[in-house]
């Protein structure tokens, strides 16, 4: 039997398969090299980068919840300069296709990071985190309403020739409208969902478990919500949608493709199983073979209503 065609298009960008890592759960990518050849992934999306290195939030950054976890990392990162100087060459060397997730405290900062990264010829795309719930300046000022997203997307769009993916927050009444605003403002794709804002307290010590009081919920617990939002957005916009949220297995990934996602990102699953991304990739291929499908294209968006 011929090998199923796993490749997918995200606008002008063609990826060899639809499986990417989700930002913030994959470090700078190289940390996974001991577990498998990271060049096998559709793309590696690295930890959110800011203009200057960021220290992040004080300890008390993660809490386990039922089938999920809360994090309030606070976007600790090495900054765009060190990324370009130290990390990017190594990712290139590893043969990895990679995208940079970015954030800023102001629209100007987003713009500046995007501009700076544009010089990196090996960079596949820029993912704009307009939805980090854990820092005041993490984009939620933009991500909560269509108008904010429009403003941010337009500026980043002008600052770079790279494909621009806008990463959306689930903490909104109508995510499809926010996605439509990103589309109208020139985004090449939207990725969703980021984490859902949650909270955990200790009923004995009477204190929040996170230094930041609230944090972002991720993992299998949120998969049904993510899937619904991806489906809503797919029905609304024409640009590719990258599905994210609670994906742990090939079956999970296929569900997102089925409702219309062009690709997926795997986040929290990397923590329990460092080989999660490749296992999902292998599982998708096995499924396509089993169902005698020619490729992703034949399956994607095929939900029967």
């Amino acid at each position: 039997m011929v090998k199923p065609d796993l490749s997918v298009s995200l606008g002008s960008l063609r990826l060899k398969n639809p499986v990417m890592s989700a930002s913030g759960t994959f470090g700078y990518g190289l940390e996974f090299a001991p577990f498998y050849d990271i060049s096998r992934l559709g793309a590696v999306v690295v930890k959110g980068l800011s203009l200057a290195p960021t220290p992040g939030n004080p300890p008390g950054r993660i809490v386990e919840t039922a089938s999920g976890m809360l994090n309030a990392i606070g976007l600790q990162n090495i900054g765009v300069e060190r990324f370009m100087a130290d990390v990017a060459p190594q990712l290139e060397g590893a043969g990895a296709v990679f995208a940079a997730n970015i954030y800023g405290r102001t629209a100007e900062e987003y713009e500046a990071v995007a501009e700076r990264l544009s010089g990196l010829s090996s960079l596949a795309a820029i993912e704009v985190n307009a939805s980090c719930p854990n820092v005041k300046e993490g984009g939620m000022a933009f991500g909560a309403a269509p108008e904010g997203i429009q403003r941010l997307t337009e500026r980043v769009r002008k600052a770079t020739d790279k494909p621009v993916w806008v990463k959306l927050s689930p903490n909104v009444s109508d995510i499809a409208s926010v996605a439509a605003a990103a589309e109208a403002s020139g985004a090449d794709a939207v990725s969703l969902i980021n984490t859902i804002v949650g909270m955990a307290v200790d009923h004995r010590t009477r204190r929040p478990k996170l230094s930041n009081t609230t944090g972002g919920l991720s993992g299998p617990a949120i998969k049904p919500v993510a899937l619904r939002m991806v489906w809503e957005v797919c029905r609304r916009v024409k640009i590719p949608v990258i599905g994210i949220g609670g994906i742990q297995t090939a079956a999970d990934a296929l569900e997102f493709l089925l409702v219309g996602a062009a690709a997926v990102q795997v986040g929290t699953a990397n923590f329990r199983n460092p080989r999660a991304c490749v296992e999902i990739l292998e599982g998708i291929e096995a499924f396509l073979r089993e169902e005698r499908l020619s490729g992703i294209a034949e399956y994607r968006g095929g939900l029967l209503l």
Partner: protein, 269 residues
């Protein structure tokens, strides 16, 4: 560092407090005492995250395979689940992880301090020192006699170090907290001995802090194995950071990567 499928060889309770877990793994691994593994494998997604456990022993098994051993105490849902698992059942392990104890060179005077289940990191260090016939003393503290590790687990072989037991209720060894004994001994040490001294410690944060302050006061060196909640264990989530001194400032360092063993003087206690 590898992610492997393991099979439980034994998983037995000792005195209702500690469990000893042995897992067969595809090939032998080498580790530095103080390094750990992320362990998971119970069914379902709740609990979701793997649990960090210090590597207690690791060795070779027939046919080129390996084994890894752990000692744990049931404190919550994950360890309770683990304690209910049976030989033959599967676990996933990522190991070895983190930076273990720096056992340096000979000529040093080593004190090994373990509080509670902290002996699980301290015993492998003792075994390594004993293996190369380096002088050491070990201080073990616990609430009661039952909370001390079973005698037969104590490493040493042909050159056991001296072991001091302390229990808070006086049911075994010194009647009091291990910190008191260590502090008293520190106070009585000559300056020459202090300069040779290297304290390796693992246990509750309060214990580590108290000893770190006493050691700093006398100018003795100390390595402390810290704990923190972890999601990944191999440096990618940035969830497990602790505050370390970085010149005048404070920097957040990952317990799973830059630690779990840190120079006690650098820790912001």
């Amino acid at each position: 560092m590898q992610f492997v499928a393991g099979k439980i060889v034994r998983n037995e309770g000792h005195g209702e407090i500690f469990y000893r877990l042995e897992v067969a793994i595809p090939e032998p691994v080498e580790f530095t005492p103080g390094q750990f593994a992320m362990v998971s494998g119970w069914p379902g997604n709740d609990p979701l995250l793997p649990r960090p456990l210090a590597i207690f022993r690791a060795g070779a098994a027939p046919k080129g395979k390996g084994t890894a051993e752990f000692v744990y105490k049931v404190v919550g849902r994950g360890t309770a689940l683990l304690s209910g698992m049976h030989p033959g059942e599967r676990l996933s392990l990522t190991l070895p992880l983190g930076r273990g104890f720096d056992l340096g060179r000979d000529g040093r005077l080593y004190w090994l301090v373990g509080g509670g289940v902290g002996f699980s990191s301290v015993f492998p260090a003792a075994a390594a020192l004993a293996g190369r016939r380096t002088e050491f003393e070990m201080f073990l503290g616990s609430r009661t006699r039952e909370h001390l590790p079973p005698k037969e687990w104590t490493p040493g072989g042909s050159a056991p170090g001296r072991v001091h037991l302390c229990t808070e209720d006086g049911t075994a060894g010194y009647f009091g907290r291990v910190t008191e004994v260590v502090k008293e001994r520190l106070a009585g040490l000559s300056a020459a001995d202090v300069s040779r001294l290297m304290i390796l410690s693992c246990g509750p944060r309060e214990m580590l802090k108290e000893i770190a302050f006493a050691a700093a006061e006398r100018g003795a060196e100390m390595q402390a194995a810290l704990e923190n909640h972890m999601a990944c264990g191999f440096g990618v989530c940035w969830g497990c950071v602790v505050a370390l001194r970085d010149g005048e400032k404070v920097a957040y360092r990952r317990v799973c990567k830059e630690g779990p063993v840190f120079d006690a003087r650098e820790v912001v206690w």
